[in-house]
């Protein structure tokens, strides 16, 4: 129901009350004012307000144009009766106008109910259509991505169970492809690390068995056979040498595992690093095969650090440097101290090895092979060495200032 209809019905009520108290032949300015206000604001038949025009169309559409004619007729009579001061007819006209407006209200109410019903049907239809559309889109999306997601899940399960990685290779450009590529990269890295680890364990087992074979063989001969012309001193020296080698290798593996889990024991105290570098070089010299060190070591450079760990790091570093150096040339070792830093440089001469190849040694689970004169041996790579240097707030890197002369550069805080 339009607002103007409430107002007109209300105004008709007041007009009827006024007409009820009007004396025959009397003039009523109130009813006159009512008439003009009705014509201007509330008339439907020829009203010019937006609501009146809209409602008139509804009335015509409902086939009730008769009501419009009746309204015009009533108003015409009402005006004539006002002018003629015919009180009785004025009352009748107002009653007829009230009745007409009530029918208008009923008609509009019918329309409102129809619109509500229509609105409900629309809302319901849109809801159903939206739900169906969402389901269809969902099904399409599912059909498009479900197999790809399923493949990712299968690959993850397969990798978890077997440790083997088969490239997923999703060539699309969406987020699933990004995820698939990230999984590819991650699994490849894990698989590569696993292979490195397996190879490391295999080499470690080989390197452990080699001295054990000699120790066990000689010890068994001594314990069971003891041939009369057996050179016992020589046998004992061999056992001692191989057991020392075994012990160093076990230490290296133990420390490498601790470094891998970031659990290296670090017990710093002040000590003379120059003296340690010199001592390791002297201890190593007899073990080198057709290789020598040419060293320049500044004396009395002390640092606060773990001497045992650094000794291990130096052994590993010099072993790796000797593994890559050419035979019959001197590896250059320079140790100096300046600006609160101790710097050790080990230059590989004519090694025919590139900087990236050497940097591979810094990855976990790497071994390096070297010639001892009595066979090729393997030593753990530089991962442990770098971790020990890091513990000392230092750095270990490879530099290549000139061709075929890569350098290990170790810097430690003094």
């Amino acid at each position: 129901m339009y607002e103007f209809q409430f107002k007109s019905v209300s105004a008709i009520g007041y007009a009827m009350a006024e007409a009820g108290s009007l004396k025959p032949g009397a003039i009523s300015p109130t009813l006159e004012a009512f008439y003009w206000q009705y014509r201007k604001e509330w008339e439907t038949a020829s009203g010019t307000t937006k609501d009146a025009i809209h409602f008139r169309k509804n009335v015509e559409k409902a086939g009730a144009s008769d009501l419009l004619r009746q309204e015009s007729e009533i108003l015409k009579n009402f005006k004539q009766n006002l002018d003629a001061q015919n009180t009785e007819n004025i009352r009748k006209d107002l009653a007829a106008l009230h009745d007409l407006n009530s029918r208008y209200a009923a008609l509009e109410n019918h329309y409102v109910m129809e619109r509500l019903q229509s609105g409900r049907i629309w809302v319901l239809s849109i809801g159903i259509a939206g739900t169906i559309l969402t389901l269809l889109v969902g099904l399409m999306v599912r059909r498009a991505i479900a197999p790809r997601i399923q493949r990712l899940v299968t690959e993850v399960r397969k990798f978890r169970e077997t440790g083997e990685h088969e490239r997923i290779a999703d060539t699309a450009t969406d987020d699933i492809a990004v995820l698939a590529n990230a999984l590819d990269a991650g699994f490849s890295a894990i698989a590569s690390r696993n292979r490195d680890q397996a190879e490391f364990l295999s080499i470690a087992a080989h390197e452990l068995k080699t001295p054990v074979t000699t120790i066990h063989g000689y010890a068994s001969l001594l314990a069971t056979q003891r041939p009369p012309d057996l050179d016992v001193d020589r046998v004992l020296k061999t056992i001692y040498r191989q057991s020392w080698r075994l012990s160093r290798l076990i230490d290296a593996l133990f420390l490498a595992m601790k470094a891998r889990s970031r659990k290296l024991d670090f017990e710093p105290r002040p000590f003379d690093l120059s003296e340690l570098v010199q001592r390791v070089l002297i201890d190593m010299e007899p073990l080198l095969w057709r290789k020598t060190f040419q060293s320049k070591i500044d004396p009395q450079i002390s640092i606060l650090g773990d001497e045992a760990l650094l000794e291990h790091a130096l052994w590993t570093l010099f072993t790796c440097a000797s593994a890559y150096s050419a035979e019959n040339v001197s590896m250059q070792v320079v140790f100096s101290g300046a600006d609160h830093r101790a710097k050790l440089t080990v230059t590989i001469v004519d090694g025919n090895v590139s900087k990236p190849e050497i940097e591979e040694l810094f990855r976990p689970f790497r071994f390096v092979e070297y010639e001892t004169g009595s066979g090729v041996r393997s030593a753990v790579g530089l991962y442990l060495c770098r971790e020990i240097v890091r513990l000392h707030n230092g750095s270990l890197r490879v530099e290549e200032n000139s061709r075929n002369r890569p350098e290990f550069v170790m810097e430690l805080a003094r």
Binding site: K209, V212, T214, G217, D229, G375
Partner: protein, 130 residues
């Protein structure tokens, strides 16, 4: 004319001097002559000269200077079918490596001297020279 030669020597091919020496001692103890080679080329040289005396070759897997497959192929060619070749190695999977090299016999290190003794003292036979 048929001339018989005693084929009683063992050739140990291993880069570990200590292991070669151990085999030498066991050989001395049980009267088996032992020839030594630190790498494959030296082994081929020994075979070229001493082939008729060698009954057994104890071969390590990792030999300096030559890939294991190449080394074994060359040794097999030189040694012929009358010489047994046994892989004696510290690798983690000796059976697999022996199969790769098409060797039917293998021993994993560390090895008992008694096992070496048995190996070195059997298969001794008089064979006609090639």
């Amino acid at each position: 004319m048929s001339e018989k030669t005693l084929r009683d020597s063992v050739l140990v091919v291993d880069d570990s001097e200590d292991f070669r020496e151990l085999i030498g001692m066991i050989g001395k103890l049980y009267g088996v002559p032992v020839l030594e080679a630190a790498d494959c080329r030296k082994a081929l040289n020994v075979l070229a000269v001493e082939h008729s005396k060698i009954k057994l070759i104890l071969l390590d897997y990792f030999i300096p200077g030559m890939e294991p497959e190449v080394c074994v192929r060359a040794i097999k060619e030189k040694a012929g079918p009358s010489v047994n070749i046994v892989l004696v190695t510290a690798v983690a999977d000796p059976a697999l490596r022996a199969a790769e090299l098409q060797l039917s016999r293998w021993i994993g290190k560390p090895v008992e001297p008694s096992t070496l003794r048995e190996l070195m003292t059997q298969d001794s036979s008089l064979r006609k020279p090639a």
